[in-house]
């Protein structure tokens, strides 16, 4: 608690695990070639720019996950934590993920002004997933 006091009332933001994910995000790097689910989301209001690529295996489960881009600590950490969570999920399971899942991964619920940051990764996934599902429909 002494560290919390020293650092002001951050309400769980920027605790060590968040900062670790921010400084060394998991699954960060070049997007997998031939990704099944792929999307880039840009947030003009804060300059965040996130790309996410997923491949599905023969059983339709997430095999490889990679993301890259730039953003604030909250958006990068949330995307990093979310990327860990995606592995092995089926498409219907991906579709079920919502903001509560992201807040649970983060360990706190950001206020109204930072929720968009925390949810940028999820938004990228959801938009990519919708594109994938539309393509499947067309087939």
């Amino acid at each position: 608690m002494s560290q919390l006091h020293e650092m002001g009332d951050l309400g769980g933001m920027y605790l060590d695990n968040i900062l670790e994910h921010f400084h060394a995000p998991h699954n960060f790097g070049e997007l997998p070639a031939g990704a099944d689910i792929l999307h880039q989301e840009v947030s003009l209001s804060c300059g965040d720019d996130l790309s996410l690529g997923l491949t599905l295996d023969a059983d339709g489960r997430v095999d490889e996950v990679k993301f890259n881009g730039r953003g604030c600590a909250i958006s990068v950490a949330a995307a990093s934590m979310l990327s860990d969570r995606l592995k092995g999920l089926t498409v219907p399971e991906l579709a079920k993920l919502d903001k509560e899942d992201v807040f649970e991964l983060l360990g706190f619920e950001p206020g109204i002004s930072r929720s968009n940051c925390a949810l940028l990764g999820l938004k990228t996934l959801q938009t990519g997933l919708n594109k994938y599902l539309r393509k499947q429909d067309e087939k």
Binding site: M7, M13, Y14, L19, S45, C46, G47, C72, I74
Partner: protein
Amino acid sequence: MSTGYDPKTIRKDFPLLSEPSGRLRAYLDSAASSQTPRHVLEAVSGFYERYRANVHRGMYEASERATERYEKSRKTVADFLGADESEIIFTSGTTHGLNLAVQLIEPRLGPGDEIVTTEMEHHANLIPWQQAAKRSGATLRLIPVREDYTLDMEAARRLIGPQTKFVAVTWASNVLGTVSPVAEICALAKEAGALSVVDAAQIAGHRPIDVRQVGCDFLAFSAHKMLGPTGTGALYGRRPFLDELEPVSFGGDMIKEVTFEGATWNEAPFRFEPGTPNIAGVIGLGAAIEYLNRLGIKSIWEHEKELTDYAFARLTEVEGLKVIGAAADKDRVGTIAFLVEGIHPHDLATVLDAHGVCVRAGHHCAMPLHHKFGIKTGTTRMSFGPYTLKEEIDALIEAVHKAKQVFRV
């Protein structure tokens, strides 16, 4: 201070500053919205508690009193601007005022005409002109901001010419703090036969305003950035020019005679104020000006200049911090945007908030200006008011150091 100006005494008039709730330690976001003194709060609640009624209509005491107070505010605003009360149109704020100015003069715009504005406008003084240009086939030209964050006046002289119909300029940038040579720009407009519109949102309440000296045709400002209530402001429109303009929105209070076939208009400024206005807000605006006059606008200016110099001195102590805006020795207001290397402005603002320091982070409604300087993330911005203390700047500096610790930069 030698003038006897004492922000610590002034703060006692502001409930939110003298008895702060939550973790508030430093309020450094007055450029977004200022705090409100009791004098204004009492004027607003006095209307609701003692003589709440509509204006310009009721033939009974309360309504007459409301009308008197409402119109007294018009006189107060006129004196505040060096204008005549018939030149004051009450609005919901600067954005409304600027949009109204554009709508009023847009009928004079056609293909081949040019509108000149600057690269450091708030979106509210850029987008309405972009839209007017699109509708009319006119062209929008921009006076560039130079590397030292001041306007390129040589370019202004080149850009403003016989083809120019309107010149729109902010008096002070809400990001860079830069003060424009408005009188010079309005003179260029006049010489070219163009009309001029000034955005005074960041000047009103911070420096004296004299519209005759500025030489503008329109000038807009908001009450809530100068200690008044939200949702209120005023647009100055020069007479007799104002009398030539047709109203753009219609309803009660703005007409002379109505038949089933048509209508004739009330005189200016009433023909531009359709419907029941923000009576409490306007009364509060008048009270805010009374209060500002009591403090003395020139003293406020000096106080904020001293704070700006102090802030610059303290900011230079922080390694990796870069001010995005006019240097302290330039003509500028107390609005200072900055970047700290390695920390996203949103993260910085969150850490500052955790330490009770209120600032704004983002593009401050000036996205193209940030992009021009290669800044995609926005900036963090502190800004001052008549009540701001040096201790609040100290609190910010301390919290910036804490943020650097958190982010290991």
